[in-house]
């Protein structure tokens, strides 16, 4: 019956005739508005992600505290919204500064997830880019490239690694400036659609902001990632090995501590990433060691244990021991 009625009325509108009313898009009946922090966290399941971030990442206490602060702000905002207080989207663009391998990319992915759970980004994916993805090679190339990236990041988080490369003061006609301007516009006008996180070394980021005050003023949260203590690095190593079903025996643990003490002083030390690379090489040496005895039956313990010899074969031990 209802079909007939619908068919009988014309589907077009005559010019000048009153426009037929379009049905409002159906809205899902919302759950009762939350009244407590606990209810917001439970409804959004953001609490679980925050706890997981606490557990899965070693150290980084100041970073975790800042993320909790931001999450608290957003949760309270949700409560205020539930009682009808102003609903302007807070600015969520962030800047992560820190040395290589301090977990910036990893934390950005978690943040995307948290913002998604709390409803501040619609999809919660992370698009990680560097200058080459945004800036073109010739006139007219940059805007389409930057927009292409922005379109892919809509609904999620755009993570720009080593953002200061966008700005090259030594070349006044550098196309990076064009990318920065497009970014600024979207960061300002489409806060509901996209969160931008810039990342890079502290001093160079500072210099970048000094020459791009517009960018600084659009970033609400500056989070600094400290270098890891040797103890943190050791715990990160254990976590990484555990995930791959390896372990260090006592000798290897002592050797690895010594390894870290030496490696930290060497150039190009990249915190957790150096740990990961060192462990990858130790696994290679362990495999070679087992490979050298083709007729021996290896036990589960043999197959999963990295020994002191696997660590001490590293090039790092070839140099004289650190002075002092």
């Amino acid at each position: 019956m209802r079909h007939r009625v619908a068919m009988a009325s014309p589907l077009y509108s005559l010019p000048g005739a009153p426009a037929p009313e379009t049905a409002a898009p159906a809205t899902v009946p919302a759950a009762a508005p939350p009244r407590t922090i606990g209810e917001v966290l439970a409804q959004s399941q953001a609490g679980a992600v925050i706890d997981e971030l606490d557990a899965a990442l070693v150290g980084l206490a100041p970073v975790k505290a800042r993320i909790r602060d931001i999450a608290a702000l957003l949760v309270v905002d949700r409560l205020r919204l539930a009682i009808g207080l102003e609903a302007q989207t807070p600015s969520l663009h962030m800047c992560f500064t820190g040395n290589p391998g301090t977990g910036k990319t990893t934390v950005a992915m978690r943040i995307a997830e948290i913002l998604h759970r709390l409803g501040y980004v619609r999809k919660g994916h992370l698009v990680a880019v560097t200058r080459d993805d945004l800036v073109g090679q010739y006139i007219g190339h940059t805007a389409p490239k930057t927009k292409e990236v922005l379109k892919k990041a809509m609904g999620g988080v755009l993570f720009i690694d080593e953002a200061y490369y966008l700005y090259r003061p030594e070349n006044e006609r550098d196309y990076g400036q064009e990318a920065i301007e497009i970014l600024l516009q979207v960061m300002e006008n489409q806060r509901d659609d996209l969160v931008v996180i810039l990342a890079g070394y502290r001093e160079r980021m500072e210099a970048f902001f000094r020459s791009n005050p517009g960018m600084r003023s659009r970033i609400a949260h500056h989070i600094d990632f400290p270098d890891y203590e040797p103890g943190d690095l050791l715990r990160i190593a254990s976590l990484m090995l555990e995930a791959q079903h390896y372990r260090l025996d006592d000798g290897a643990r002592a050797a690895f501590e010594e390894y870290l003490a030496r490696r930290i002083r060497q150039p190009h030390f990249a915190n957790a990433r150096s740990v990961r690379n060192a462990l990858d090489r130790a696994r290679l040496r362990q495999a070679s060691r087992l490979f050298a005895e083709p007729d021996r039956a290896w036990t589960a313990a043999d197959l999963t244990t990295i020994t002191a010899a696997d660590i001490r074969a590293s090039r790092v031990f070839a140099d004289p021991p650190p002075a002092g």
């Binding site: 005559l14 922005l150 809509m154 609904g155 489409q190």
Partner: protein
């Protein structure tokens, strides 16, 4: 009886409905993204029914997660071509399908004079029909201007 009393171009989906709002366009785009389609924006001032291929406004958009990206491109197309027809096209790249899955008009000129049908009598009782757009005689770029 008038066959199309509003004179509106009726091509693609939803063309008998009142124009979709941006929010409604967004919902359609979300639906397509959910099915893995790649959206693209196309425009023309020659909407003759046999003109299948409209001009592309930028590349088709692969790997988008959210409708906001498509709407961004649509807004910039509207700004560039305020008097043109614009449509959104969704491409289904699934092997074996590889064709357009959705297509609908998202901008029309304010005035749509429509088409005329001319009949040409041939030998015997043959009739040849030709559809001609009322704006079609003007040069490209000058059509549908107020």
């Amino acid at each position: 009886m008038m066959t199309n009393p509003t004179g509106r171009l009726t091509q693609g989906q939803f063309s008998f409905l009142p124009d979709l709002t941006d929010a409604e366009i967004g919902l359609q785009v979300e639906y397509g993204l959910g099915r893995g389609y790649a959206w693209s924006v196309e425009y023309t001032d020659d909407p003759h029914p046999r003109n299948t291929y409209w001009e592309m406004f930028g590349m088709p958009m692969f790997d988008l997660k959210d409708a906001a990206g498509v709407l961004l491109e649509l807004r910039s197309c509207r700004q560039t071509f305020p008097d043109h027809y614009i449509r959104l096209v969704a491409f289904d790249s699934t092997r074996g399908i590889e064709s357009v899955a959705m297509s609908f008009i998202v901008q029309r000129p304010r005035r749509e004079p429509g088409f005329s049908l001319s009949r040409e009598e041939g030998p015997g009782r043959t009739l040849r029909y030709t559809i001609r757009g009322h704006e079609g005689d003007k040069p490209e770029g000058e059509r549908y201007r107020e």
